[in-house]
């Protein structure tokens, strides 16, 4: 079916070469998004990674090649931290107004965070902010965050959009009026919202100068092919598309295909509770048997990068270049031979009566994970490890993770190595009931990794932290706990417009019209 659809789109491409000019409002950009519109409430999770155009956080991301950095947004300056790393103080920017005309102060900031901690709000962000013990307004223009444990990655938690305290009436976040009538300080404000389209206009009162792109219209187009066709017909200026579909636009005049790197990884857990996957030789051999580059080329159509650890190269100084696994099936076989895993008659290895067999589970609706699991199984089979690939839905998969491998992913909050890797590798998450079942799904225990992860969390010295994360990767590669496979690139297609100013950004797991070339729309200028 996918092939037929691609063929249809390709046929359409052949007929129409120049995109028609869309009947869009002047001074604007029209984007198509697959996600439902609405839900513009930061308490309910909107814009957690700083991608909102309606709200600002205390800090905001600075894009470009490499690792994004932070700069003050609603904060007047970068936060200060106590020596023990437990107390963070942020000065609030003066004279910033919300789109309802009220003035931003420290009470709004404290109220926004408190609303997330309020159990009645049922906020999906509770876990990712669980290092924060309390938030208090220390005077009208300063906010104090007291933490449960030293947390050097605190700036990543300050990207969250701030709402006026008067709009926080308590109760469930999903029932707040902010979902459909957002009030923020951001560069854009919502003009109208229908199930099929949201219209935004520039906030002329924006504290950082009104954006030059005056109108932003986001249309909801759930179907991938429909987004591609609306691009071709000239109805929209940009959309996120899956890699193979995006690639059909590469030779088309008037369009640009772009991709952003992400820390969105996919890998296979190797649970300690299974005698085969717990074996260090099996773990080491599988990591060398997988042809990651071939997976990138064939499963991801080239839009991705091989992953040996959960930290990609974009982390710069925190990335350890030597911590990679070579593709070396012969070496992998030697490791298994030396460890006593001998080939039996049917080609599957055996050791002390245990056959080298295990199951990799994936979510049935996720075809990418299925394809990755099958590629992994094929490579494992070549060295005599029999992997069966099995779909398992969300209600049964977590319970089986302690004895079966899973094709898992991560990279939801990539703007610091800590949220990127801590819960994936730290042994505290190996205990039952700590965190989510998907955290450290291999139940991996490596004291050297633990020590470095904790040390990096306690110091705010950038060089020291980078060194600790490099040693995490070295220790991990010496004794791997899973088989990391790939990092995904997110692909986008945009029609040439009169605006320029797009910069690359490292993207989290989530993507759509809020990310891509349009994440910094407020900075775009008319060319």
């Amino acid at each position: 079916m996918a092939v037929a659809v691609l063929a249809t789109v390709a046929a359409a491409s052949a007929c129409a070469t120049v995109p028609a000019s869309p009947s869009t409002p002047a001074d604007g950009v029209v984007l198509a998004d697959g996600f439902d519109l609405g839900g513009y409430n930061p308490i309910a999770g909107h814009g957690e990674a700083g991608e909102s155009k309606l709200y600002d956080g205390l800090l905001r991301l600075v894009g470009g090649d490499g690792m994004p950095t932070f700069e003050p947004a609603l904060a007047a300056e970068m936060p200060t931290v106590s020596d023990d790393g437990l107390h963070w103080v942020v000065k609030v920017r003066d004279g910033v107004r919300f789109t309802d005309g009220t003035t931003l102060d420290a009470v709004d900031v404290a109220a926004t965070y408190k609303a997330i901690f309020d159990p009645a709000s049922a906020s999906p962000l509770a876990t990712s902010l669980n290092m924060i013990e309390s938030v208090t307004a220390a005077g009208p223009d300063a906010v104090r965050f007291d933490l449960r444990y030293p947390y050097a990655a605190m700036p990543t938690k300050l990207l969250l959009g701030i709402v006026p305290s008067e709009r926080l009436s308590g109760g469930r976040a999903s029932e707040s009026t902010l979902n459909t009538a957002p009030v923020g300080t951001g560069p854009y404000k919502l003009v109208s919202l229908r199930p099929d389209q949201a219209v935004f206009e520039a906030n002329e009162d924006y504290w950082d100068g009104a954006p030059q792109v005056k109108n932003l219209t986001v249309v909801h187009v759930p179907d991938d092919n429909a987004r591609a066709q609306r691009l071709i017909a000239g109805e929209v200026d940009g959309a996120n598309l899956p890699p193979r579909l995006a690639a059909t636009f590469t030779d088309r005049a008037g369009f640009e295909v772009s991709s952003n790197t992400s820390a969105d990884w996919r890998g296979v857990s190797l649970p300690a509770g299974n005698p085969v996957t717990a074996d260090p030789a099996i773990r080491a051999a599988l990591n060398r048997a997988v042809d990651r580059q071939s997976i990138v080329d064939h499963v991801l159509a080239g839009y991705g990068r091989p992953a040996s650890t959960p930290l990609p190269e974009v982390y710069g100084a925190a990335y350890e270049a030597s911590a990679t696994f070579p593709f070396d099936p012969a070496g992998a076989e030697r490791i298994l031979d030396d460890a006593g895993w001998r080939r039996s008659a049917d080609g599957v290895r055996e050791k002390a009566g245990v056959r080298a067999e295990f199951t990799v589970m994936y979510f049935p609706e996720d075809t990418l994970r299925r394809d990755l699991a099958q590629a992994f199984a094929t490579d494992a089979d070549r060295i005599g490890v029999r992997v069966s690939v099995q779909p398992a839905d969300r209600t049964t998969l977590p319970d089986r993770l302690s004895a079966n491998a899973g094709l898992l992913g991560g990279g939801d909050l990539p703007y610091d190595p800590d949220p990127q890797i801590y819960s994936t590798l730290h042994s505290s998450y190996a205990q039952a009931g700590v965190g989510s079942p998907y955290d450290n799904a291999s139940d991996y225990v490596n004291p050297a990794v633990d020590a470095a992860l904790d040390a990096a969390r306690r110091t705010t010295d950038a060089d020291e932290r980078a060194a600790q994360y490099r040693s995490v990767q070295s220790a991990y590669v010496a004794d791997p706990g899973c088989v990391m496979l790939v990092f995904l690139d997110h692909t986008y297609v945009s029609r040439d417009t009169e605006y320029t100013g797009s910069t690359p950004i490292l993207e989290p797991h989530s993507h759509g019209a809020a990310w891509g070339p349009w994440w910094n729309l407020r900075e775009w200028t008319r060319s």
């Binding site: 869009t24 999903s174 099929d196 955290d439």
Partner: protein
């Protein structure tokens, strides 16, 4: 007939909603997965349990049903977690567009099926009859999803006669002209997907009626052919046809869900799928009961029409 049917609606609605909550509780989906999205995988088990309690989704299904009923009878349909909106707002925003799309398609399909089916049924073996039967079989075999994509590729992308998708052009208001232009393609696809079974069944019942003893007798008595068609064939043939339309209304919704998705049509049929996948109970219950009522109303209308059309049918059934 009306009163009895109306009274029957009450226990039926209660039974359908009860069955819905019971079945949904056995579903492989987790309502928290829909609510939390990607964070479902990262949220700690303890926090998940707390959120489930706060949202009331961890209560036994009969308790959730009782809570829902006690609010629903007062007119409070609750909140949709999926759309972060009151159910009443979801229905008001999306309902009219589904009615417009499905209504247009159904009306067009009935008119075309009547005209073509009658001709084909009365002239069996003719060129048109054979062509229609073949075309209907082919169209029936094409999934609405593929039909939509082909229609868009031909009429919107290549010929540029009509817009690709959406309710209006991006940023435009839903004026009559805008909506009419955007409605044409999805309504045509939905019409085409409804047409085969309507057409074939009408043709079949007209042929059956035309070959019945009553009609043979009428012809033998020398009654003029137009009168035979009008008085003896059509009333008998249209009866099953109206019943069929009434019964297959839910299938109309299934087709509409796919067409709505491909054409980014902001309707409720697509929401029904979303609500079921994310176990958004209040929305799922409202839509399921709405569908139940639609079927009841459809079969009631069909029975009334049947009784009016065919004098042999007693109207106290």
């Amino acid at each position: 007939m009306l009163t009895r049917r109306a009274l029957f609606t009450v226990p039926l609605t209660a039974a359908v909603s009860l069955a819905l909550f019971a079945l949904a509780s056995r579903s492989p989906f987790d309502p928290l997965a829909g609510y939390l999205g990607d964070r479902y995988l990262t949220m700690s088990t303890a926090d998940k349990r707390r959120v489930a309690t706060e949202l009331g989704v961890d209560a036994p299904w009969w308790q959730q049903w009782a809570t829902w009923v006690s609010h629903a009878v007062t007119g409070d349909l609750g909140y949709s977690r999926t759309y972060a909106q009151p159910i009443s707002a979801v229905l008001a925003e999306r309902g009219p567009w589904t009615l417009l799309l499905s209504g247009t398609a159904l009306a067009a399909a009935i008119v075309i099926a009547l005209a073509a089916g009658m001709w084909a049924g009365l002239h069996p073996g003719g060129l048109l009859d054979r062509a229609l039967a073949a075309a209907a079989t082919v169209v029936q075999a094409v999934p609405p999803f593929v039909m939509s994509l082909v229609a868009v590729t031909v009429f919107a992308v290549s010929l540029r006669w009509l817009p690709v998708a959406g309710l209006t052009d991006p940023g435009a208001d839903p004026t009559f002209g805008q909506v009419a232009r955007h409605l044409t393609l999805p309504a045509a696809v939905l019409t085409a997907s409804l047409l085969p079974w309507l057409l074939l069944s009408l043709r079949q019942s007209i042929r059956a009626a035309a070959e019945s003893d009553a009609v043979l007798g009428a012809r033998a008595r020398g009654i003029p052919e137009p009168v035979v068609v009008r008085r003896h064939i059509l009333p008998v043939a249209l009866g099953p046809f109206t019943t069929l339309i009434g019964l297959r209304l839910p299938e109309l919704l299934v087709g509409a869900a796919i067409v709505e998705e491909v054409f980014s049509w902001p309707g409720l049929a697509g929401s029904l799928v979303t609500a079921a996948r994310e176990l958004d109970f209040p929305l799922l219950a409202a839509l399921t009961i709405g569908t139940t009522w639609l079927v009841l109303a459809g079969s009631l209308l069909a029975d009334i029409a049947h009784a009016l059309l065919d004098p042999r049918v007693a109207d106290d059934a």
